[in-house]
Assembly symmetry: C2
Homo-oligomer: 314 residues x 2
């Protein structure tokens, strides 16, 4: 249900360079708190994102945890080759539905990224690898550079990603422009095209609507969401964008509604406290940690079988 | 759509005593920003809430603005008599559905408050006053003292308020225990009992779900919400409760969804800036002000007739 993306989306957006050993501690604690899908890094040149230069080592470490689904971001074929070699379970290829954002962020048009996905699929298959390919369609609700992004263009690119060989897609409100009615509209249309291959919603809380948007997406049948402990994260090429939905708040909302996440929220809040210390000086978000859980809160009962079903990501 | 309650719910929960002239400036700026319903104070003894000791003067001032609907809170018959004398358009009588919270907060059982409402109705009618009586059912989703509050009890008390003479009710998540599914459930049932007399939802953002809960309530047909600029506010007798939904974020969500609020959001953000300065040192909330409006944001078109319809609160 919750893919924790803090080790990638969070860390790439802040100044602090978290030491590799801290990242490992983060992964271990997240695993112990019940999270079973983590985006742990990005295979990009270290000069561009020194924060993520240790991605190969982190993937290898994460792979030692039984049942942990390990995701990475890859911006191109070169990164995908590294991801395949690393044995990551999933690689996310980011695409911006906004042409202007795509050129600014990736120096490619959206259709050039689609072509990349074709090459990545060929490389994956040639290697006999099982690494899942997920297309991440960003700026799906609008863009700080271009402004409006048309729904038809989002749907066209989503289909193009499938045609090129993507196994799944994720729709992302990269800059926090979505509102719940926009989410209902786009996610319903996208589900009509992609069915369960519309795998995940990625919402930013830039203007406070992150969890309302998650609730809207849930109503369309999407049940998986990216989130980031302490709500850090954003996009360096989208001015004003800041803050993924906070994992701890998302877990609370889902569990409060009786939707099983497998997450031990008090353990997650303990990890949040550690992160807040490690990342001292960075702007952090999230709300639950200030008030704690309600007296009436009852986590869903997690059985081993239920957890397996929840985290059946393959 | 939005009842700004900062001058009452907000100010009663913080340390700062805002001078009367500042409150007047707040009212003027809120009016200029398009807000047409304000809860401006509370008729309680000044020794209990010195922050609100100038309520009579503030009501008189607020009444000079054409079309502004002026609300106050009254804890008992004595307060209601003051409210009637002040000429306020509406008086909210708070009731806690949680027996324990009611005793701690009001030193009365919920049914004793219902009896008060009967006396208040008699006094209102005897005075030939048109002041609307709204029952505010607090802790409707649970309570920090008592824990669970049963839906049946909330519905029973709501009906009892009507039977005693209340014109409307508001349901309040005083301590931030609601989640969107709870809201859908309770508000649907309450609408079945009360129809359009279920006037308003009052959500706290204590655990980050405030706007998601508003979106859920909207789906049940409720279209009016309490909110507070900068998201201050809470309940001194509900430990851990803090922060109404921020008016500026709520206005943004509604307008973004094409729901007309009549509010000029940039003007509201300017007022927010002033408040942040006046209340420096207090903990404030809200998200929109950090990022500003999206490039793609288009406020709904407000005509004079539409505004009148939107604010047809009588």
């Amino acid at each position: 249900m919750i893919r924790e993306v803090g080790l990638r989306d969070g860390l790439q957006s802040i100044q602090t360079i978290l030491p590799t050993e801290r990242k490992k501690e983060w992964i271990r604690a997240a695993y112990d708190a019940g999270l079973r899908e983590l985006e742990v890094g990005s295979f990009v040149p270290a000069r561009l994102l020194p924060q993520l230069a240790d991605t190969a080592e982190i993937v290898a470490f994460a792979r030692t945890f039984p049942g942990l689904f390990v995701s990475v971001l890859v911006p191109n074929l070169r990164g995908a080759e590294d991801a395949i070699a690393s044995g990551a379970d999933l690689m996310i290829v980011p695409l911006s539905a906004s042409h202007a954002h795509s050129l600014a962020n990736l120096r490619k048009t959206p259709d050039e990224v689609v072509a990349d996905v074709g090459r990545i699929r060929a490389a994956r298959d040639a290697a006999g690898s099982k690494t899942v390919i997920e297309g991440g369609v960003g700026t799906a609700f609008g863009c700080t550079i271009q402004g409006e992004v048309k729904i038809a263009e989002v749907l066209r690119l989503m289909q193009a990603l499938f045609d090129a060989g993507a196994d799944r897609v994720c729709l992302a409100d990269t800059v926090g422009y979505a509102d719940p009615l926009m989410v209902l509209d786009l996610f319903e249309r996208a589900r009509a095209v992609a069915g369960d291959k519309l795998w995940c919603g990625h919402f930013h809380d830039t203007r406070g609507l992150g969890l309302a948007n998650v609730f809207a997406a849930l109503q369309t049948g999407v049940t998986r969401f990216d989130a980031c402990l302490t709500g850090i994260g954003g996009c360096p090429h989208a001015p004003g964008a800041s803050g993924n939905v906070a994992s701890e708040d998302l877990a609370y909302m889902l569990e409060s509604m009786g939707i099983q996440t497998g997450v031990d929220i008090p353990a997650l809040l303990t990890l949040r406290e550690k992160l807040a210390a490690w990342l001292a000086g960075e702007i952090m978000h999230g709300t639950l940690w200030k008030a704690g859980l309600p007296r009436t809160f009852e986590p869903t009962q997690v059985t081993a079988a239920a957890r397996e079903a929840t985290w059946n990501t393959k």
